[in-house]
């Protein structure tokens, strides 16, 4: 079926505004992950969902960041009162059975620029 999709692909916002990023996982994938990738840097884990619960939120950098997921479907990552250091590509990944033998499949990402 279709891969992981994310929207918007690009978002430019002004400092202090709120933004909402969306992720549509591969159909049937129970696990969903959000990562942040700053320019030229590695992949920084933000949050993990199993179904619609989030057992691991350890990577969220501050209380300005939050995420939710509806069932085993769409997830949204919300950043409130954006700061310039929030500028990055936000990647979403989903995973099939959740068994350790499976891997994560990434979406194309949302490039966020905070002016």
């Amino acid at each position: 079926g279709a891969g992981v999709s994310q929207s918007p692909s690009n978002k430019v916002t002004e400092k202090g505004k709120d933004v909402e990023l969306r992720c549509d996982p591969i159909s049937g994938h129970t696990a969903l992950y959000w990562y942040r990738q700053r320019l030229g840097q590695g992949l920084e884990f933000l949050i993990y969902f199993q179904g619609n619960s989030a057992p691991d939120k350890s990577g969220l950098p501050s209380d300005r960041f939050s995420a939710e997921r509806t069932g085993e479907s769409v997830s949204t990552l919300t950043i409130q009162r954006t700061q310039q250091e929030d500028s990055a590509v936000y990647l979403c990944a989903s995973r099939g059975t959740g068994w350790i033998q499976d891997t994560q499949y990434f979406g194309p990402g949302t490039r966020l620029t905070v002016l």
């Binding site: 590695g42 992949l43 199993q50 995973r95 033998q101 891997t103």
Partner: protein, 112 residues
Amino acid sequence: QQPVQSPQAVILREGEDAVINCSSSKALYSVHWYRQKHGEAPVFLMILLKGGEQKGHEKISASFNEKKQQSSLYLTASQLSYSGTYFCGTENYGGATNKLIFGTGTLLAVQP
């Protein structure tokens, strides 16, 4: 906790071989390798499991040394299409969240 990759960058000519290493300070259950081209999402290459099982595709192989807590990715007879940044993602024992912690990345440039 973040795995360390080496080298940080490597430049090859087409047809040459390369090895990329990924080392963790924690006991590993599995290692996942990805390649990311500029401006694109990471693409899955290979997964290595405890016990040495390899699952992947393309003409790329890898090893997993549980004792040394490290994995190596072998790229033989490199092609221009191999260029990109390679990341390892590690899963630790007791990883109930099945979360991957990604390494620092290795930039590979293959030249004609």
